[in-house]
């Protein structure tokens, strides 16, 4: 179970209050899921309704960061571009 903080409205809640929108890539440029750090779109579904970015490790589930759209952070440790 992921505990997520929305970077837009700052609410912290379980992942069931959010919705995963798949890899963080422009439409048509689908990226593959791999073992390691992945960037995803998430929707603050039960909160402010904004889409935001989230980086997490696909094996140990640790969340490395969240950001509002347009404020993409530099690569995280262990992340391959």
């Amino acid at each position: 179970m992921l505990l997520i903080t929305c970077p837009v409205c700052a609410v912290t809640a379980e992942e069931t209050e959010f919705s995963c929108g798949g890899p963080y890539a422009p439409p048509g440029h689908g990226r593959l899921y791999m073992r390691g750090v992945v960037r995803e779109w998430w929707l603050c579904e039960a909160g402010c309704g904004s889409w935001f970015g989230l980086a997490r490790h696909s094996v140990n589930q640790r969340i490395l960061g969240v950001w509002a759209a347009g404020k993409e952070p530099p690569p995280f440790p262990g992340e391959t571009a």
Partner: protein, 421 residues
């Protein structure tokens, strides 16, 4: 005087071994050291990889094969499923493949000299909405047309099959009926893997555990072998059957597989007396339940809310699945759950597997089984072996090639899958 080890599993060998304290059994498969070169390398020692290797050796005479497994046999999705076997699918392509598999299951224990505890006890899919009823009726019609034995049954017959089913005044949904497949059932999942491994090893196939394949080597558009954690192994044909890890192995070759890894959880209760003698699938409450031969209830539900390889499972789904179980059988509310696990299922956009050649000559994939791969192990292995060896059964899996996504020729099974994943 040392006696010859006992190989076959028969009543006489069991009695003989009982007399010498079971010290004479031969290991089911020896721990093989990888050679430097093989005719065929199978990446992934799950059910699909082992079955393909076995049928290559058994039916096509190709015995210079190795199966490379990153962990141990029966440690992946082969041991992380709910063991349900059925072939009541919607599309003709799926019915051919799953139907072939179902028919191979009928004689699998004899074929492999290993009791896989195949139990065709009957399987019912319940409909609690009119829409679901219509969907199941469509599947039943398709099944009848293509020779898969399944038909719709009214609520009265469902109640007769499932005395445990909640039918009282407090039930939440009206029962409309069900899709009944009399030969649907379950089997022992570990036994299927062990049995294929044992017979494959007996036919001369090297099964190498704890050997992770790191990359696939190619020379001039042809596959030349694999680089593993235990050195380079060369081969002209490589079959990658590594479930959710297949995309990462093929990505360096420029091949993109539309496969998403998601955790799917399952639960086993404490053993109870026999109370449920059919497999129950209820898509409307997102649950599927059967009672194992030991008496444990084996329960599954929907996939986790977000993708990943963690094999940990989200708490929300544990609650959802328990809720769906109690929706059907409130009398089980005091039953304790003994075990719980998650497997990383490899889900494709159309919920059908990806089987066929990929990219460089000699490279084949068999993945994307998603939430329903166990039931397909014998058929998938049989047809994949045929594809690799140029046999007659290859046509069964030809529609499942990777090119179907480029051609828009999807084999859409998501509407017909037991539970929406």
């Amino acid at each position: 005087m040392p006696r010859r080890p006992t190989r076959r599993y028969t009543l006489t060998s069991l009695l003989r071994e009982a007399r010498r304290q079971h010290r004479g059994w031969e290991p089911a498969w020896p721990k093989a050291e990888p050679k430097s070169s093989y005719e065929v390398i199978v990446v992934g020692g799950g059910g699909h990889g082992l079955a393909a290797a076995y049928y290559l050796a058994k039916l096509h005479g190709i015995r210079n094969i190795t199966v490379l497994e990153k962990g141990w046999l029966g440690g992946g999705n082969a041991a992380r499923n709910t063991t349900i076997i059925r072939s009541d699918y919607l599309r003709p392509e799926s019915m051919a493949l799953y139907g072939l598999s179902h028919s191979l299951f009928e004689h699998l224990s004899t074929e492999l000299d290993f009791n896989v505890l195949y139990s065709p006890r009957g399987l019912v899919e319940l409909a609690y909405t009119r829409q679901h009823m219509e969907r199941l009726a469509r599947t039943a019609d398709a099944n009848t047309h293509y020779g898969i034995r399944s038909w719709m049954i009214p609520p009265d017959e469902v109640r007769k099959l499932l005395p445990l089913l909640d039918d009282g005044p407090h039930r939440r949904y009206p029962l409309y009926g069900g899709l009944w497949q009399p030969r649907g059932g379950i089997a022992r999942h570990d036994a299927v893997v062990w049995a294929y491994a044992r017979m494959a090893a007996r036919l001369g196939i090297d099964i190498v555990e704890n050997c992770a394949v790191e990359r696939i080597e190619t020379i001039g558009g042809r596959v030349s072998g694999v680089r593993t954690s235990r050195g380079v192994i060369s081969a002209d044909i490589v079959l990658v059957a590594a479930a959710a890890d297949t995309p990462a192995l093929l990505a360096p070759l420029g091949i993109s597989l539309p496969v998403e890894p998601v955790a799917l959880q399952a639960f086993v209760s404490e053993p109870l007396k026999p109370a449920l003698d059919v497999v129950v699938i209820a898509g409307d409450v997102e649950g599927y339940i059967s009672q194992s031969d030991k008496g444990e209830f084996v329960i599954g539900g929907a996939t986790d809310p977000s993708p990943g390889y963690s094999r940990r499972g989200a708490f929300a789904r544990i609650e959802d699945t328990a809720a769906s179980l109690l929706e059907l059988f409130p009398s089980l509310s005091r039953v304790r759950m003994m075990r719980h696990w998650a497997g990383t299922v490899d889900i494709t956009p159309d919920r059908s597997p990806i089987i066929g050649p990929a990219g460089p000559q000699g490279l084949y994939v068999n993945c994307g089984w998603g939430t329903g791969g166990f039931k397909a192990i014998p058929g998938s292995g049989y047809a994949t072996a045929s594809l690799l060896a140029g046999g007659k059964a290859a046509h069964v899996i030809e529609p499942f090639g990777l090119d179907r996504f480029r051609q828009g020729r999807l084999i859409e099974e998501s509407a017909a899958s037991a539970v929406a994943h």
